[in-house]
């Protein structure tokens, strides 16, 4: 990808090829130094040109939280909306304007606490957008309260004796809500993050990405135990469609199914071979494998990252527009005069 300094370079056919710089807004980015959001922003700006979508057709909608600032830093159309409600604006926008590419930027509190209901329904409706959830297991903007993904017993200013709530697994929720694209990635693994963003952007349907993000001020190191560069190969499971579930620096650990449960095995020990392992199928029609993967977490299991599920279903806009076309095909384009005169009329001379 070429980076130009003088603006987008036209290529054959008169199409303008955009670059990362075209997507950088002139606002000074104000996240805390060391915040994982910088990485997410950078990779988002980097992949945006690859879709070949004109800048003016891209909209970023965010909720409230540190993640909510992201649209201001993207040189596209953007809407910093209210807490938890970004998916609702996205649904209205996509329904009225199916031609636009819509991204929803949210956080673990915005999406799963106040926004939980809208999360469920936008996924269920398969509204064609990509939802990037910055999951830092804390409420950062309001300075450090528990979130729906915080661990049981987490001590914060609002839970000084430890949280009495159990966390939810966002990927399981997304799968339960019938999301057609479910993936997890990490803020620090930039190449994986970029690839995941690109796959999600290309998916025609509701795409949900959980980004394990580090809030270095209010919840530093929440994921470090397995995302740290020198341990991640041993503690994360990089999913690839069609490949067996193998991980580990020596590529000698795997996941097989024993009854209904996943089981960590070592290839070569106890007669275990690669043939015994589960093979990843991200396009499986049913979500059973994806559900199992969504329940696996450190330390019992390596943390699966990548695309858990990707299936094709008609999107909300596809179906809404199809009904409009069907209605027009059945009775012709709507005639206002006929609608006004509906029912029984009479004339006064």
């Amino acid at each position: 990808m070429t980076e130009t300094t003088t603006g987008p370079a036209p290529i054959e056919g008169g199409l303008v090829k955009l670059t990362r710089k075209d997507f950088v807004a002139d606002q000074e980015v104000r996240w805390c130094p060391g915040c994982g959001d910088y990485s997410i922003l950078a990779q988002t700006q980097k992949v945006m040109p690859d879709f070949g979508v004109p800048k003016e057709n891209i909209v970023f909608i965010s909720g409230i939280g540190c993640s909510g600032r992201l649209p201001y830093y993207m040189n596209t159309y953007g809407f910093h909306s209210i807490h938890g409600r970004a998916p609702t604006l996205a649904t209205g926008l996509k329904t009225a304007r199916p031609d636009l590419m819509v991204w929803v930027i949210t956080g673990d509190g915005d999406a799963l606490s106040i926004g939980g209901n809208h999360f469920l329904h936008t996924m269920r409706r398969n509204v064609d957008f990509t939802m990037i959830m910055h999951n830092n297991r804390i409420y950062g903007l309001t300075k450090g309260q528990t979130s729906p993904t915080s661990e049981f017993g987490k001590r914060t200013k609002s839970t000084p004796m430890g949280s009495v709530d159990r966390p939810v697994m966002p990927l399981t929720l997304a799968l339960a809500a019938e999301a057609t694209f479910v993936a997890r990635t990490v803020d620090t693994h930039t190449e994986h993050l970029a690839r995941t963003l690109e796959a999600a952007g290309r998916h025609h349907g509701a795409s949900f990405i959980e980004v394990l993000q580090n809030c270095n001020i209010f919840n530093d190191g929440a994921w470090r135990e397995f995302t740290e560069r020198d341990v991640r190969d041993d503690r994360m499971l990089f999913l690839e469609h069609g490949k067996p579930l193998i991980y580990g620096k020596e590529r000698n650990k795997g996941i097989r199914l024993r009854g209904l449960h996943p089981e960590v095995v070592t290839i070569g020990e106890d007669g275990v071979t690669e043939a015994d392992l589960l093979v990843h199928d991200q396009h499986a029609e049913d979500p059973y494998l994806a559900l199992i993967l969504s329940r696996m977490f450190w330390p019992e299991f390596p943390v699966p990252v990548g695309i858990l599920r990707q299936v094709d279903r008609p999107t909300h806009s596809d179906l809404v527009d199809a009904q409009i076309e069907a209605a027009i095909a059945r009775s012709g384009p709507g005639d206002l005069r006929t609608a006004l005169m509906a029912g029984e009329t009479w004339t006064v001379e």
Partner: protein, 623 residues
């Protein structure tokens, strides 16, 4: 039934206005009877006004009190504005209907009952200790006992249908009888029956026979000595149809989208009494109307904002409790200055209140019920037909001034019906506004039009105008996030000025009655009918009264203050405990008198007259 050889002595009485209330079981077909009578009266040329009274329960047991369904119709030789304070005649198909509706019938009124339904079983279901037809309890009324069930069954003898099916047609018998009593032709209904039941000749035959049997019964029985004639009213020429407020609201926004040359988006959540609007708009897909049944009220509002952001003519519809849920999002709409309409079909509150009953107690909520200084224009239609024109007007203001607009309807105007002169599509105003396009220099998302103070509408998809908006305070002009103290003050003042400036763009407040004098009756919303009728009644008596009715509640029409000054006393009757009253007093420093009733029912003309006369009396005024 053969005609009797002797002619029965009868007289025909001329009346200016009649109000009939049909009441029966949910299964007695009273809504159909009422709408057929209405149509016939309207086609004949009377002015009509109707109001249905639906059962409180979805499916109450047959014959029980919560299952009573009613329909009131008032028809007249002159212009009428209400469905009538009280009925002149009550048609009660069973004891429960009689029990529920008799208290509304004035002494001397007529009661026509289906005597077949007055069985011990039905009487006990209606909590009657003894049969009112045989004890003295109905002696204040003129009671006509008609064995409708039996006579109807007899008329349908020989037809291939069960006795249950035959019984279902007895509402046509009652209709036929009423047609005879009020000298109406059966022809429109017969034509309707033939058209609706063309594929079911037995049913068509049965309904037709029932109708004619009812008519013939009136003709041949000795029970009725008088028939009544209500002459035609002088309605302006044109094509008319009967329309309810909710129907007119839906059609109004469909027309507004046409007039604005934009696609219509409606995001909504089912809630009584607004659900009809969603269901009607969902039927207009061939117009490109996109309706969205959201998962909750907040999602409905969010989707409306998203659609507006995308350039659609966006609206949402709800009732009081839903409006409360939408408050935060409405504030976002105000801050992002996007055009949209928020329809509130008001009902009795607080909280869940009385979902099917009328009230107008959400005014203060739409004016002030959001955090911060969050001004929003407010409109309120006065009649069912006006719901159409005001829907277009609300859209016009939303688009021109780049603001959400509140549209306050209510359960009475929403469910009530009146004749509506259907406008020509060519006569609809052009309310379209342009989308912003890239021009010279830096784009200012929060730059202002010098006249309207509205900001440019740059919709996604427009090259070169990429910008970000949101709920945080904006820098005047550039529209970036700004925490500057003076900027925040300036923006709040600007937003308020933009809304206040709309006053230059709306019609002045008109008065009906004396131009200046003792008493001005000032109202808003669905109380129009009762207030106008009250003043119409008092003027010929030489009373110094006038009626003014606000359609614009924020901002008020520019001349409102001046109008109020022309009268010694301003009376504000409202179906709340004093909301417009409060705002009028605060805005104009006038010692307005309130008359608030929250009974879940519309005002009666008589009570407005009584209150007006009480005030005039207090002031020592006899005229």
């Amino acid at each position: 039934m053969t005609t009797t050889p002797e002619r029965i002595e009868r007289e025909s009485q001329l009346l200016d206005r009649v109000t009939i209330r049909f009441a029966g079981d949910s299964g007695d077909g009273m809504q159909l009877t009422g709408t057929q009578f209405t149509r016939t009266a309207a086609v004949f040329g009377n002015d009509v006004s109707t109001f249905p009274d639906y059962p409180a329960e979805i499916r109450a047991p047959a014959g029980s009190l919560p299952g009573v369904s009613g329909f009131q119709i008032s028809f007249s030789a002159s212009d009428i504005h209400t469905p009538g304070d009280a009925p002149d005649v009550l048609v009660a198909m069973n004891p429960a209907a009689l029990k529920t509706n008799l208290p509304d019938l004035p002494a001397g009124g007529a009661v026509i009952v289906n005597s077949d339904a007055f069985t011990p079983s039905n009487l006990s279901k209606a909590a009657y200790a003894s049969n009112p037809l045989t004890n003295d309890s109905l002696k204040a009324y003129r009671v006509f006992e008609v064995p409708i069930g039996t006579l109807n069954a007899r008329a349908l003898e020989g037809l291939d249908m069960t006795s249950k099916q035959a019984d279902l047609t007895k509402n046509f018998f009652a209709l036929g009888l009423m047609f005879w009593l009020y000298e109406r032709s059966m022809d429109p209904t017969i034509a309707w029956i033939d058209e609706k039941f063309g594929s079911r000749p037995v049913i068509a035959e049965a309904n037709g026979r029932a109708l004619k049997a009812g008519y013939a019964f009136g003709e041949t029985t000795e029970m009725f000595h008088t028939t009544y004639r209500v002459p035609k009213a002088k309605l302006p020429p044109g094509t008319y149809r009967n329309i309810t407020g909710n129907e007119a609201t839906a059609l109004g926004f469909l027309a507004a989208a046409h007039a604005a040359k934009r696609d219509l988006f409606y995001g909504s959540y089912p809630i009584t009494p607004a659900t009809d609007i969603l269901q009607q708009l969902a039927g207009y897909k061939s117009f490109g109307v996109r309706t969205f049944q959201a998962e909750d009220e907040i999602a409905a509002m969010g989707s409306t904002i998203g659609a507006a952001y995308g350039g659609a003519l966006a609206l949402t519809g709800t009732s009081g409790p839903g409006l409360a849920l939408k408050s935060e999002a409405m504030g976002l709409a105000v801050m992002t200055e996007l055009p949209m309409v928020i329809v509130n079909v008001q009902r009795a509150g607080p909280s869940t209140g009385l979902p099917t009953k009328v009230e107008q107690a959400d005014l203060l909520q739409v004016l002030y019920g959001r955090n911060g200084e969050s001004p929003m224009p407010v409109l309120a239609p006065a009649t069912p037909a006006e719901c159409f024109t005001l829907a277009i007007e609300a859209s016009r203001i939303a688009l021109k001034y780049m603001t959400p607009v509140a549209y306050l309807s209510d359960a009475f105007v929403g469910n009530g019906a009146e004749p509506w002169k259907v406008p020509d599509v060519e006569d609809l105003p052009d309310i379209s506004v342009p989308n912003a396009v890239k021009g010279e220099g830096t784009f200012l998302p929060y730059g202002r039009d010098p006249e309207t103070l509205s900001r440019p509408w740059a919709i996604p998809g427009t090259p070169g105008l990429e910008h970000r908006i949101g709920g945080l305070e904006k820098l005047d002009g550039l529209g970036t996030v700004s925490y500057d103290a003076d900027n925040h003050h300036r923006m709040c003042v600007l937003r308020a000025a933009k809304i206040a400036g709309i006053a230059r763009d709306i019609p002045p407040l008109e008065t009906f009655g004396v131009d200046e004098g003792e008493l001005l009756i000032l109202g808003w919303g669905s109380t129009y009918g009762a207030l106008r009728s009250a003043v119409e009644q008092m003027l010929p008596e030489g009373k110094s009264v006038a009626h003014a009715h606000l359609r614009y509640l924020n901002p008020f029409p520019a001349n409102t203050g001046e109008v109020l000054k022309r009268y010694r006393t301003v009376l504000v009757p409202e179906l709340n405990l004093g909301q417009l009253w409060f705002v009028i007093r605060g805005t104009y420093l006038v010692d307005a008198v309130g008359y608030g009733r929250v009974r879940g029912k519309p005002f009666r003309i008589a009570e407005i007259v009584a209150e007006a006369e009480r005030i005039l009396g207090e002031r020592g005024v006899t005229r």
